[in-house]
Amino acid sequence: MAELKIMEILSPGILTSIQDLGRYGYGRYGVAPSGALDPFSLRIANLLVGNRPDQAGLETMLLGPAIRVLADIVVAVTGGNLQPLLNKQPIEMWRSHNLKKDDILSFGSMASGLRAYVAVAGGIRITPVMGSRSTNLPSGFGGFQGRALEKNDILTSANPCRQLQTQTRVFNEAWIPHYPNRWSLRILWGPQDDHFPDESRASFLNAAYKMSSDSDRTGIRLEGAIIRKKPDIQASIISEGVITGSVQIPGDGKPIIILGETVTGGYRKIATVISADLPLLGQIKPGDTVGFSAVSLDEARRALTAVEEKVHSSIHKPRLCR
């Protein structure tokens, strides 16, 4: 198959990896989903360049990469504001850009949020593993050779789209997320909220946690109010499946919000972040303040429907690259 070199990594930044919307269907084999930690931003980036929303893109954090463009391509940068630069000049996020061969795409310092996404029209050529192009970094498979991108890596595309068939696409400005330093995450109680006394649940909702700097793609560790379980029950539970957004309470009582690299665990989970707020988990940064508010299943559903409407109605009749 014809393929074209599209990008050369000049410097990889802190952590840049290939991610799509995750690897589902392999939980029975102990395989966690991985995938973009802010899937909303990856989906919008893809739609802005005419891709299907589930294509693989680059996820980067904190300090982004420097990339030499090796062919005329179309890209969009979304997510946290890591100050993208084209040939050292700032470029707008949340819209598509036509890049020329030998352009340099790089990033300045982090202005808001934590993770940015780069989508390329026509997609990046990556062989899927178990149905996904996401990189499973802890176990070293999928994505680009099972690892984060490094200097001199070359990315290719099987069918690069050199020019969008419509004019530049721009995301509805009113819907561009703003990433604060203080977050309120909506949760549903459970599955083990009944293992905690009322006062623990109250202090969980009243707490203003700080995200710890030990956090990584496996979990957001929180410092603040200690959550105690009921005294007359065992220290851990029998291992069971977990999902992104599970808020687990280990023995030390400090909550950890599970991200996409964990499939089972033996800690109690007091609550679960609702689907509509999962993309926020990819943008909370160390030092940020995190609080929780409890909602009902109906409210969670309405919130998710509202997010999905933004995705589906924002880009008018996306024309796919063929």
Binding site: Y29, G30, S139, L188, G190, S239, I243, T264, L304
Partner: protein
């Protein structure tokens, strides 16, 4: 009460449902989880994204905009009431060769001392049972096997090692398992197997699956080298 009279449902957010079938580690409960898992998996409803079976529960991950919680619960009750739908295949018994002790099994001596046994006796007790694969979890392809004989059941290390090499065979109380990829871990490492537990390109990617039976046998370092060839 080992096995519940009916599945107990606990929501895990708005896109997954934990279905508990009992509240302890037992082969009967685990068998029921496996049957329920097979029943759903053989004819999955639209909107079900993943199934994670474990010791005594099944986690059903779904797209809440494609299928409702009530529909999922109804489907599970239906399978629960008609267990004939999910007859399981005869379990396969997989033999796993292990190099015990030495650098490959740095905790073998300690486990022997803990129980006032010789290392050879520990190996004898570890290789005697035919274990059940209760679940695959923690890392890709990592089997949780039970049950370890009381004579060698040993608690985890208080401080986990930061790196346990893949292939390491460990004990944690009445469980035994095999590290499938290099990872941190707190189990007592008594040996190492050259068998590859996880191959991302394999069909299936995990060498062992839930419900398999496993028996360990001792080999020498030289035999392990031949095994790898």
């Amino acid at each position: 009460m080992p096995l519940y009279d009916a599945p107990k449902f606990r929501i895990m957010g708005d896109r997954s449902l934990l279905v508990e079938l009992g509240d302890e580690i037992s082969s009967a409960i685990n068998q029921s989880v496996q049957e329920l898992f097979a029943g759903i998996d053989s004819n999955p409803s639209k909107g079900i994204l993943d199934l994670v079976p474990s010791y005594r529960s099944l986690l059903v991950i779904y797209d809440p905009l494609c299928i409702s919680l009530d529909e999922i619960k109804a489907g599970i009750i239906d399978i629960w009431k008609n267990p004939d739908q999910c007859r399981l295949p005869q379990p396969q018994t997989v033999k796993i060769p292990v190099v015990y002790g030495g650098e490959r099994g740095p905790d073998l001596q300690q486990v022997a001392l803990y129980h006032d046994l010789t290392p050879q006796e520990v190996i004898g007790f570890h290789t005697r049972p035919i274990y059940r694969v209760y679940m695959i979890g923690f890392t890709p392809g990592y089997p949780y096997l039970g049950e370890v004989m009381d004579a060698i059941a040993t608690p985890r290390h208080e401080t986990p090692r930061t790196l346990v090499p893949k292939g390491s065979v460990g004990i944690a109380q009445k469980q035994t398992g095999i590290y499938s990829v290099d990872s941190p871990g707190g189990w007592q490492i008594i040996g190492w197997t050259p068998v590859k537990l996880f191959d991302p390109d394999g069909q299936p990617p995990s060498h062992l699956v839930m419900g398999d039976r496993v028996q360990f046998y001792a080999i020498t370092e030289q035999e392990a080298a031949q095994w790898l060839n």
